[in-house]
């Protein structure tokens, strides 16, 4: 079983890296970019076939390590 955990900065948290990327896109002449926020993606393979168990493990992983919930949100997406 595969899953993807996406970690993004919460709204209102300053994202200097996103801002720098936004500036770089503008200087490259890429039109129509209003703003950029940078995040992280984790592709995780899970042992076993129990989907509920896998989801619980992913939530545990995100809460304990993958995201710093002071500043970040996460989303879990099961892939088949």
């Amino acid at each position: 079983m595969k899953a993807r955990v996406t970690v993004t900065l919460k709204t209102g948290i300053l994202d200097p890296q996103g801002k720098a990327i936004e500036g770089a896109l503008k200087s490259l002449g890429v039109d129509g970019v209003a703003s950029v926020r940078q995040g992280k993606v984790f592709d995780i393979e899970l042992a076993g076939a129990d989907k509920a168990k896998a989801e619980a493990a992913l939530k545990d992983a995100a809460d304990k390590l993958l995201a710093n919930t002071v500043i970040e949100n996460y989303a879990i997406e099961m892939k088949g």
């Binding site: 948290i13 300053l14 200097p16 890296q17 390590l65 993958l66 710093n68 002071v70 500043i71």
Partner: protein, 233 residues
């Protein structure tokens, strides 16, 4: 003062810290490997030094904060034991939940390596009793992620409880945005937890303790800790 310095893979300031502690306290600090599950008996001070633990992978300090020795540090701090985290150590203490908030990328995205001035906000704590309130000290910083942030309510509580001990400032002690090197909320360079026994700070006082370093302003922090422990004993 019996100090214990935590050692994680990728840490590089532990020897500087050991040298400063040896020099000022007269005792050899214990070096404690991250896989240990306990601290040496009779430890008076736990130091989480600077560096790049686990290569700063995931988030600065994130992986070190989950290492076995940190459970022992949490237990030690819960009983009132003194903990000092410098630079990456500050990041580790935030990630481990011992201090509130988080250290983000410097506002101007640059790694900053230079001497800065800090205003000591109060002198009635174990971590500042070697200084006078309002005193300005000069110490080096070397970090890319030192921009302290927390939600508004947390910042308000920290300020209300007088928990900011060190702030970035000018040579004459003015705190303003032009001297806030990394964009930290309220120019916070160092703060303590709610019980006042855990300090995290970005600057490196251990690197300004001998004449050969060109400045000895960092000595006061360690000398103050020694004094505090002697008085308590």
């Amino acid at each position: 003062m019996k100090a214990a310095i935590l050692v994680f893979p990728g840490i590089n300031r532990e020897r500087d810290m050991a040298r400063a502690l040896r020099l000022i306290s007269g005792h050899e600090p214990a070096m404690v490997w991250h896989a240990e599950t306990s601290l040496p008996a009779g430890t008076d001070l736990v130091v989480v030094p600077g560096g790049f633990s686990y290569g700063d992978y995931l988030r600065c300090g994130a992986i070190a904060a989950r290492s076995p020795v940190m459970d022992a540090v949490r237990g030690y701090a819960a009983k009132g034991g003194l903990v000092l985290g410098v630079c990456n150590g500050f990041q580790i203490l935030c990630e481990s939940g011992l201090l509130p908030g988080v250290l983000m990328r410097n506002a101007r995205l640059k790694f900053i390596c230079k001497d800065v001035h800090l205003r000591v906000e109060r002198s009635d704590t174990p971590f500042t009793r070697g200084y006078n309130a309002g005193q300005v000290i000069r110490v080096p910083v070397a970090h890319g992620e030192g921009n302290y942030e927390a939600d508004e309510e947390t910042i308000k509580r920290i300020e209300g409880e007088g928990r900011v001990l060190y702030r970035y400032c000018s040579a004459d002690g003015a705190v303003d945005e032009s001297h806030n090197i990394n964009g930290a909320a309220h120019s916070i360079a160092g703060l303590v937890n709610d019980k006042g026994n855990v300090l995290g700070m970005m600057p490196h006082p251990e690197n300004h303790v001998e004449d050969i370093m060109g400045c000895t302003d960092g000595r006061g922090l360690f000398a103050g800790l020694v004094q505090h422990l002697e008085k308590a004993a």
